[in-house]
């Protein structure tokens, strides 16, 4: 099936055998393409004795450690075809990943994200609250992970309101006015987990505002690391927001700038659901073997979207475990998994973490 057809297929419509067959076909195609177009990638494959370009199973296709994107400018397109360069967030002195996108890859990513989002919120754009400051999208040439995330999600909204001002203060009056204007419709909320908690939830609570979000759908991402001190996890986060503003539909998602577009949304299982254009493999950190469902290991992510850079098979620095496959109660097919934190000693990285360290360390 051609990639355009895959993108037009329901994102959770394939079960194990069909999905693996689809993925391996595309991963082989991409491995060949990148080996031809990206010299460092070919040399890495050769160095590891993995320069064969056709593999039988998804798990056989060689993975690249995600940190390579910080060390090298890996791309499989000529310089003049680059339309966008994404960077992971990083503090001063820390190396950031650079991901080079051409028009085609950018379009695939947008389409994939749309397919996933529409499966959760439908095809109509909803009035949208962005739980962040507009400052993050000011630098238009070089998008940070945070800015790229916001812009990517903005396609699903209309009448966008950035809920925080330039000083990260809640724009309470604008928020109330927005909710009054849109009280008869579902609304979309998007923000990074840490920001949602610190600058939205806690501020509403502190100010004693009466905010009704019963018709809201909150999509958030970024991880729990900065919230562990407060003992906030997914369950307590949802419960707190539900109590305070009546918010019932809350979906966390997992994803990374190195494979933007193919995000993993939290489904009814409370776990992250893999869509048909990507998959998760859990590896044993000692011998790199594939671990079965239930066993904790290092997360490898595959995606069939990256054409402009060799990021189709990546070994992340995160730990996780697969919980199940093809049997989610919401009917969504594919593996679902949980993320259990960072691999020890991995460089600390993450949008909300970076924000916290740069802007308000000690103040929060």
């Amino acid at each position: 099936m051609a990639l355009d057809d895959v993108l037009a297929t329901g994102p959770y419509s394939l079960s194990h055998d069909d999905k693996q067959q689809l993925l391996v076909e595309h991963l082989n195609r991409l491995t060949q393409h990148h080996a031809e177009q990206c010299d460092p990638y070919r040399r890495i494959l050769q160095a590891y004795g993995k320069d064969k370009q056709v593999w039988d199973r998804v798990e056989d296709v060689p993975f690249l450690p995600i940190s390579l994107f910080k060390e090298f400018a890996l791309k499989s397109i000529p310089d003049d075809a680059v339309v966008k360069t994404l960077t992971s967030s990083g503090t001063t002195g820390q190396k950031v990943s650079r991901i080079f996108l051409d028009k085609e890859t950018s379009r695939y990513q947008t389409k994939a994200l749309a397919a996933i989002m529409q499966d959760f919120i439908g095809g109509k754009r909803l009035p949208m609250l962005i739980l962040d400051t507009q400052n993050v999208i000011k630098d238009r040439r070089l998008f940070s992970a945070r800015g790229a995330g916001i812009l990517g999600l903005s396609n699903f909204g209309r009448d966008h309101l950035y809920v925080l001002d330039n000083d990260m203060q809640l724009r309470a009056d604008e928020l109330k006015e927005f909710l009054a204007t849109h009280r008869d419709t579902d609304i979309l909320l998007f923000g990074f987990t840490f920001m949602v908690w610190k600058h939205f939830y806690q501020e509403i609570k502190r100010l004693g505002l009466d905010i009704d979000l019963a018709r809201g759908v909150l999509i958030h991402s970024g991880g729990w690391k900065k919230l562990t001190d407060e003992a906030v996890d997914n369950a307590s986060f949802k419960k707190a927001l539900n109590h305070l503003c009546g918010l019932e539909r809350i979906h966390n998602f997992y994803g990374m700038v190195e494979q933007i577009g193919s995000i993993y949304m939290e489904g009814d299982t409370g776990c992250f659901q893999t869509p048909i254009f990507s998959d998760i493999i859990i590896r044993d950190p000692i011998d790199w073997s594939v671990l079965p469902a239930g066993r904790e290991g290092i997360i490898e992510l595959v995606s069939i979207l990256p054409h402009s850079y060799p990021g189709h098979v990546l070994l992340t620095e995160d730990l996780g475990r697969v919980i199940g496959e093809d049997d989610s109660p919401d009917g969504r097919q594919g593996k679902y998994f949980e993320v259990l934190g960072r691999v020890p000693k991995a460089e600390i990285r993450g949008c909300s973490d970076t924000y916290a360290e740069e802007v308000s360390e000690g103040a929060v």
Binding site: V83, K84, K103, S106, R107, T110, K111, A114, M117, Q118, G123, K124, R125, I137, R140, L151, G152, S154, N155, F156, R158, D159, H160
Partner: protein, 79 residues
């Protein structure tokens, strides 16, 4: 014809470019002025000018001025 002019005007104003640059072949991401940030303002301006609400798929598929006309035709805007 009238709507083509109107749409050109919306494009020129939202993207802050000269109106004579707004031709069918003008593509998203082909000029610095039409990036993903500007795309949001453009979509909002189109919604408001033609009193419609573009669906998500159409926002995403609106990759050129020519394509925009085709998309708007689905919302009963005649060109």
């Amino acid at each position: 014809m009238e709507n083509t002019e109107k749409l050109r005007q919306v494009f020129a104003e939202s993207l802050e470019i000269d109106k004579n640059k707004v031709v069918d072949s003008l593509e998203y991401n082909s000029i610095p002025e039409w990036d993903s940030v500007a795309h949001m303002s453009l979509v909002a301006a189109i919604d408001s000018a033609f009193d419609i609400m573009l669906d998500t798929d159409d926002v995403i598929d609106m990759s050129s001025f020519g394509e925009a006309k085709k998309i708007l035709a689905k919302y009963d805007v005649e060109f």
